[in-house]
């Protein structure tokens, strides 16, 4: 049962997974690369400046790209009644959300990490910075996915949920950004440990918080 659920979630969210269902799922990655592409045009082709500030820009792009998939993440299945039907089959909301978190991260984290390569080339990042950037994204994207899931579940029953979730994600994602981008500025891998710790906490928390949120959404 869990396998079927995971397969369905992945099919809905993974970019290019299928002609039907996966529409728009590639947008975060395209958006991410687009920011890296636009930045040199905005600040000018100063290679040193780009190399010094480029890593931070990639982090901001990753954070903003995490907002894009939130709209479809939870609200649609509440509307369709999928969560209700699963509940009747004995699947708890926590399990549904844990499966969704895994599918959401897989459809958003690894594509973003891969897209960091062309972005690094566009921003003239050296190999040491790229290495720290990739490590940071590996550690940080699960946390971004977890924050996104919690926010998507909390705002699912609100009419202006989509706009609100973008605003809510920014402050909550701040610790990940500070330590993730901070590692690049100081060329210090230690703060990536903090990013990983924050992510771990968020990933452990997210299924319970999001599960409670969709249970509460029924009681209106």
């Amino acid at each position: 049962m869990i396998g079927a659920l995971f397969k369905r979630d992945l099919g809905r969210f993974f970019p290019f997974a299928s002609a039907a269902g996966g529409g728009g799922a590639a947008l975060p990655v395209v958006f991410f690369v687009a920011v890296a592409m636009l930045y040199p045009f905005a600040v000018g082709p100063d290679a040193n400046l780009l190399a010094r500030t480029g890593g931070g820009v990639v982090w901001i792009a990753a954070l903003l790209a995490a907002i894009l998939p939130l709209e479809k993440l939870v609200a649609q299945d509440i509307e369709l009644g999928t969560f209700d039907q699963l509940r009747l089959r004995g699947v708890t909301e926590e399990v549904m959300m844990a499966v969704r978190l895994a599918a959401h991260w897989l459809s958003f984290g690894p594509p973003l990490i891969l897209a960091a390569f062309p972005s690094a080339a566009l921003l003239n990042l050296d190999s040491a910075t790229l290495q720290l950037l990739l490590l940071g994204l590996v550690a940080g994207t699960p946390g971004l996915a977890a924050i996104g899931l919690i926010i998507a579940a909390l705002t699912a029953s609100l009419r202006t949920g989509a706009a609100l979730s973008g605003l809510l994600l920014v402050p909550l994602a701040l610790p990940i950004l500070i330590f993730g981008a901070g590692a690049l500025a100081r060329q210090d891998a230690a703060s990536i440990g903090f990013v990983a710790a924050i992510s771990l906490l968020l990933v452990a928390l997210a299924p319970f918080a999001a599960g409670a949120a969709i249970r509460a959404a029924r009681e209106v």
Binding site: R8, G81, Q85
Partner: protein, 212 residues
């Protein structure tokens, strides 16, 4: 009326199903819909839930299903619950066959063809769910219910949007389910031709002053 002797995916539980609610009170928002409502349905019984719009039929069904907690009272269920409401829980972007296949995998149903044939869904399997009409969507939801093999059926307006032939078909399916030892609770504004059907009418709840 012809009876369909369906050997659908076997019922999940052999024990006699049971659905009871004791002195139930439900509210929606700040409004109390009803209170002191008791229901007892045993296997082989069907209950027709009627009442004007807004009297709490859907809320009662969702409470009986265990999706919402009652304001007061308790609900007891013996046996798995199958719910059909206005949302068929099928991905709108997928073809009907693939959308239904997800629930078949979840329910462990190996042979969905009979339910699809009875409800006349076979020609629609390649059509994306979002292109289906209201009645076709309703029939798809009922097919998922049949494939589930749950002994307790909670049906919220199962006949709305259906054509005359489909209404007859679905009524027969419900009658068949009940005569096979299942439970059916049907909220509907339409008359149902099912033998031994009891009726429960939800009225407007009028709050009374508690004596001081």
């Amino acid at each position: 009326m012809s009876r369909f002797c369906l050997t659908l995916c076997a019922m999940q539980e052999d024990a006699s199903p049971n659905l009871t609610a004791k002195s139930l009170a439900c509210r929606r928002g700040d409004r109390l819909l009803f209170k002191g409502l008791s229901i007892a349905i045993a296997g082989g019984e069907a209950l027709h839930l009627t009442g004007a719009n807004g009297t709490g039929k859907t809320t009662l069904i969702r409470t009986l299903a265990g999706l919402t907690t009652p304001f007061a009272g308790e609900v007891e269920r013996v046996g798995a619950v199958g719910l059909v409401d206005e949302r068929p829980a099928l991905d709108p972007d997928l073809a009907l066959g693939r959308a239904l296949a997800f629930w078949q995998r979840v329910d462990g149903c190996n042979d969905p063809s009979k339910a699809l044939a009875v409800l006349g869904l076979e020609p629609l399997l390649e059509v994306p769910v979002r292109y289906l009409s209201t009645g076709q969507r309703k029939r798809a939801g009922l097919a998922a219910l049949l494939n589930r093999g749950a002994p307790i059926w909670l049906l919220d307006e199962p006949l709305s949007g259906l054509d005359v032939a489909a209404i007859e078909q679905v009524t027969a399916l419900i009658a068949d389910h009940v005569s096979g030892g299942g439970i059916a609770l049907i909220a509907s504004h339409q008359a149902l031709a099912i033998e031994g059907l009891r009726t429960l009418e939800l009225g407007d709840f009028v709050p009374t002053e508690e004596p001081a």
